[in-house]
């Protein structure tokens, strides 16, 4: 029996101001996939995520999340928006922010958080390795810690799939390795769609790769051909090669 796709995008087109932003996108994310979507800035990566989440209505084509329309099913997705869209000066503690991820499943007018909710929030924070920061204000955290807190907010509702938009932009070099370890741990237990312009992020645990630059160049394995990357980026870049366990990038030429 074939499993149902977690996310299915069919022949999706989106125009804005008479410019084609997304052109004939087909994408199928299966349970257990760790799907990396690469592409240059302005290639439509964030827009594609927003169409998948039903935040933007496409001109043509369909999106299904676990077989249903986005607006009815998007609460099953753990969405991790780009960090630069946040107002981190907002007076809110890390735990409160993570708890807000549970609001969608509460009914009625007065939505209060129970001890069980707090336990879920603290568990999500522990998964991200920042349980000790629960009571801190988000404005007092480093970029890398803020990023982990935002992922914890997505995890708290026990989502079917995690949608990460540029999760490494603000991660500081000192905590980068630890951050990738945590991401790698997550990939063992959940379906993940990861969008990034930084192809160095692609590590060995990615199962599928696609390039997005208005069109989506898919490839049903973690192998990425030079032609795909060239087409998507227009100019040649480093490509991902087989056989290297941690960084699947071709090494940079030695510095002059």
């Amino acid at each position: 029996m074939a499993a149902e796709p977690v996310i299915e995008v069919e022949n999706l087109w989106l125009k804005k101001n008479n410019q084609v932003i997304l052109e004939g996108i087909n994408l199928r994310v299966m349970p257990g996939d760790v799907y990396a979507i690469l592409g240059p800035n302005g290639g439509g990566k964030t827009t594609l995520l927003k169409v998948i989440l039903g935040l933007i209505t496409p001109d043509r084509g369909t999106v299904r999340i676990l077989g249903g329309p986005p607006r009815e099913r998007r609460h099953l997705i753990g969405y991790v928006p780009q960090l630069r869209t946040f107002d981190f000066s907002y007076p809110i503690s890390v735990r409160e922010m993570v708890l807000s991820g549970l609001l969608g499943r509460k009914a009625g007018l007065l939505k209060t958080f129970t001890d069980a909710d707090t336990a879920l929030a603290d568990k999500a924070l522990a998964t991200m390795g920042i349980a000790h920061l629960a009571n801190r204000a988000i404005r007092d955290l480093s970029g890398g810690e803020q990023q982990r807190a935002v992922i914890a907010r997505a995890l708290v509702g026990d989502p079917q799939v995690l949608l990460l938009d540029e999760p490494t932009v603000f991660v500081d070099a000192s905590t980068e390795t630890r951050f990738y370890d945590i991401l790698e741990n997550l990939t063992r237990s959940m379906t993940i769609v990861l969008v990034t312009h930084d192809i160095g992020v692609i590590a060995s645990h990615v199962t599928k790769v696609a390039c997005l630059n208005r069109r989506l160049y898919t490839h049903e394995s973690r192998e990425l051909t030079e032609d795909m990357v060239k087409e998507a980026y227009i100019c040649p870049v480093d490509i991902i090669a087989h056989g290297q366990p941690h960084r699947v990038l071709r090494p940079h030429p030695p510095e002059e």
């Binding site: 935040l55 607006r71 609460h75 997705i77 107002d87 007076p91 939505k111 404005r139």
Partner: protein
């Protein structure tokens, strides 16, 4: 004139009570206005109130009731147009701000005779708050406190990250409209205290100061209410002793406190 003799006057007691009621509203709503950066929207809503006051004079009804209608109308119009007409909020604020004032000016021109308390509505006169207005303020405070209490977690989620709130299927549109209506109610309360033109100062200054003291929305609201009570009370006393306009005095006391807090922060 001593403090005790002042306190024995009913008009003075009313003024202090009005200050406390207004401070509760502006502490709670002002906090959200500050953290969500809605100061300009609040300015638009408060100036639109002038249209309602003019209409009140023209039709011979209570001007504050006219203001209530106009502020809620302006709030809902801006909220709806931002979502439906894809206009920048900035542009809508400019349009609503000036249109409200223009309607007010026309109505007052068309009203025969003289509009007696016009100056009070523009610049506030807390020492002349009638008993009936106190009752209206009490009802509005109750509505604001209960609504924010019920929707607190939702309002925090939607003002912190509107897009994420949409993704987890919170009723974002309705929450934002509710928030705009709450701002409108608060503005109507503050008109009596500091007047249409000075409303945004009282809405923002206490909350801006309390923001420097805490990183929690609830605590920020509490501090903002207390600061507001302190500033209005001090302003009322100073204006009574020196016989100067009360609204302007309250604002200048608040602004002085804000200046001191900012200066202290600079030297830390």
């Amino acid at each position: 004139m001593t403090v005790l003799s002042l306190l024995s006057y009913e008009f003075f007691q009313n003024a202090l009570l009005a200050g406390v009621l207004a401070s509760i509203a502006c502490g709670i709503i002002g906090t959200i206005v500050i953290i969500r950066r809605m100061v300009a929207i609040s300015g638009g809503i408060s100036h639109a109130a002038f249209g309602g006051i003019g209409m009140g004079y023209f039709l011979g009804i209570e001007p504050l009731l006219g203001a209530l209608g106009f502020t809620i109308g302006a709030a809902l119009t801006m909220g709806e147009l931002e979502q439906r007409a894809e206009q920048h909020m900035d542009t809508l604020i400019g349009a609503v701000w000036a249109t409200g004032m223009a309607i007010g000016i026309l109505f007052i021109y068309l009203t025969p005779g003289f509009a007696p308390d016009l100056f009070g509505y523009l610049f506030g006169n807390i020492l002349l708050v009638p008993q009936g207005d106190l009752l209206l303020m009490l009802v509005l405070v109750a509505v604001i406190v209960i609504t924010v209490g019920l929707l607190f977690n939702d309002l925090v989620a939607v003002t912190f990250d509107q897009e994420y709130a949409t993704v987890i299927n919170l009723p974002v549109e309705r929450l934002m409209l509710a928030l705009l209506v709450l701002i409108a109610l608060t503005v109507v309360m503050l008109i009596q205290v500091v007047g249409i033109i000075l409303v945004i100062a009282l809405l923002t200054l206490p909350a801006a100061i309390s923001r420097e003291c805490t990183a929690q929305v609830k605590t920020m609201m509490l501090y903002a209410v207390l600061f507001g009570i302190a500033f209005t009370t001090a302003g009322i006393f100073i204006s009574a002793f020196l016989n100067i306009p009360s609204g302007a005095t309250i604002i200048l006391v608040s602004a002085a406190a804000y200046g001191i807090v900012l200066a202290k922060k600079q030297f830390e």
